[in-house]
Amino acid sequence: MCQPQVVAAYPITPQTHIIERLAQHVADGELKAEFINAESEFGAASIVLGAVAAGARSFTATASQGLLLMTEVLYNIAGLRLPVVMVCANRAVGAPINIFSDHQDSMSVRDAGWVQLYVETNQEAVDTLIQAYRIAEACGLPVMVCMDGFLLTHTFEPVDLPTQAMVDNFLPSFQFSRTLDPTRPMTLGGASEADNFQEYRAAQQSAMEDAAPVIEAFDAEFNEQFGRSHGGLLQPYQLDGAETVLLGMGSLMGAVCDVVDKLRDQGQAVGALRLRCFRPFPVQALVEHLGGAKRIIVLEKAISIGAGGIVAAELRAALHQAGIMTPVESVIGGLGGRDLTPDVIEALFQESSINEVGTTFQFAPDHVSLPQKNMEATNNG
């Protein structure tokens, strides 16, 4: 659809059939691209780095250990301001080794300088990739499209594939202004010292800030052309009059919205907010959507060990800065593929999970009787 000219990847569960299918498209001549099965994820990321620097739209996909193996190159791609697009098929990070889904992998590279968009459905994955190239190329930033491993990557659901003409109309062909080209020789990636290094970082930060309205605008434009919006930065659900807001990222929000429906039917003033764009962290939009809430529960599938919930901590900082002192209940769950069932989510709503003084978060219960379930059992489960 997006017509990448170079696809480089190293196989890792649960990303494999994304790249297997692309290899087949290339083999069948449906996609005119160089397909490169690299010698490692580190190599794959480096190959797309080189390809984009040479002016070719490129694609890679990975997960988990593979994403961490790429880490050095991820920072480098962002620092070189190369518009690379990749899919992270979100998976837990070992040890213990675990192939199932959580967000630890992409959250661990949140500071690398990549835009991060977390999708809820396979349709959104398709649509977001198309938007991702447009965002990357317009902002000069790499974009990571994060989709839950297995929950999305291995789930079949009907997807409306737009026509090539529609995609071409939305996504102009790739014209890179800093291409490696002997007719306009340029030095990319030279050394920098204390007298200008910080300016490079400041430029990345401001490009990231500028990306937020661009992400919103492209989603709106996408909606006009394709008839589907995914919310841009945030996707609110039943927020009107909601006193309690459940906030999370990715595919778990489907179950959250079901719970919201059920609770609304019971007359509870509850809504949900899906954080689609984690980087740039949409401070302004979050404050606008959450300013009226009396209770906020953040449910997230990654942990900063030694600190707690990452989204919750950033949200607290954002609200605090805006003078909003609504308590943010931080819950971590769904790690390593554990189910976050509607029952569990409902329990979070029913039982106050206000973190006691001295703690900043708690783990999600793995069944509804939270009070009876002690933390030790959760850990060992």
Partner: protein
């Protein structure tokens, strides 16, 4: 205007920040001038990258990119793939030191060769991590003093022998792999030109003395490189698809001592008996290479069987100590 250099491409201009007498700077100037500005250069992290692109200044008059230390060959793979799909034939050249080739960069290099990318990979081999202050690498020869292989009561410098990287590269069914030095420019020129005529992955290992790390007079860089060849320690060879297709033969062999004496990195070997043992090992290693590549008509004056055993052992002759208890 200064026109002294106007006959050259000056892909790598003067005014960069290399140490005086830097073999790598000389080698890079020769290579990039032979290839010219109509190419894309990918550099691994290292001295060459640092001294040519300092703080928003660049000594390169060709498109040049540096990403990280280990990935130059993979970046080049991506650049080459992009050019191929766009139907362009701009040559792609990687430049890396021995760290970026023998050690941290070997995996990406192996992948690049195995996938058959049309890239020339040039290793400027100065036999240690010079940019970080002269630590041992897989390329550091036996018995060399580096800051992480220091001589001491229980050490005569680096225990292990230099990694035979050219054989590793050639074993990839490599279209072209060759060694060269800054001391024999016509040989280097012929090899660069030959490499540029061949399609597919190509590899050049260029011995590039480093006055700072080798601790020799900076005026001696070229003669030290020449002695490395004349003693047999650094054979000049060409391998095509794994087969040896060319060697620079020696009229006569010089004793390794002539090569070792001017270099402070071997100074400890001349201080005591233990050092003298290592001198014999180094001589044996030179003999083994002469024998292996047939650099001389006759066998060397030193015992070749001992020499071969010394190399086979892979530890620069430490077998001898073990045998003697």
């Amino acid at each position: 205007m200064d026109n002294r250099d106007s006959f050259r491409h000056n892909v790598l201009t003067s005014g960069h920040r290399a140490c005086s007498g830097c073999g790598e700077a000389m080698a890079a100037r020769m290579v990039s001038d032979l290839i010219g500005p109509d190419a894309i250069y990918i550099n691994a992290t290292g001295c060459l990258q640092v001294f040519t692109t300092h703080n928003q200044q660049s000594a390169w008059q060709a498109p040049w990119i540096h990403s990280v230390f280990a990935n130059a060959a993979a970046v080049a793979s991506g650049v080459e793939a992009a050019l191929r799909i766009k139907g362009k034939s701009t040559p792609v050249v990687v430049q890396a030191g021995d760290g970026g080739t023998f050690d941290i960069g070997l995996q990406c290099l192996s992948g690049m060769i195995e996938r058959g990318h049309d890239v020339l990979f040039v290793c400027y081999d100065n036999e240690a991590y010079m940019n970080t202050g002269v630590q041992r690498s897989g390329s550091t020869p036996h018995a060399v003093r580096t800051s992480t292989s220091p001589p001491g009561q229980f050490s005569q410098g680096k225990k292990e022998i230099k990694k035979d990287v050219i054989s590793i590269i050639a074993a990839h069914n490599m279209p072209y792999a060759a060694t060269a030095t800054i001391a024999y420019f016509p040989d280097l020129k012929a090899k660069v030109e030959k490499a540029m005529r061949i399609k597919g992955p190509r590899f050049l290992q260029i011995l590039s003395p480093c006055p700072l790390g080798w601790v020799h007079d900076s005026a001696l860089s070229v003669s030290v490189a020449r002695l490395a060849v004349e003693t047999g320690l650094f054979p000049l060879v060409e391998l095509e698809h794994g087969e040896l297709t060319g060697v620079m033969r020696l009229a006569e062999q010089k004793p390794v001592e002539e090569y070792l004496r001017p270099q402070g990195r071997f100074k400890h070997l001349f201080a005591n008996k233990a050092g003298a043992v290592e001198l014999r090992h180094l001589q044996a290693l030179a003999d083994a290479r002469i024998h292996r590549y047939g650099l001389l008509d006759a066998d060397t004056q030193w015992d070749t069987e001992t020499a071969m055993q010394s190399e086979r052992n892979g530890r620069g002759g430490y077998w001898e100590e073990r045998e003697h208890g």
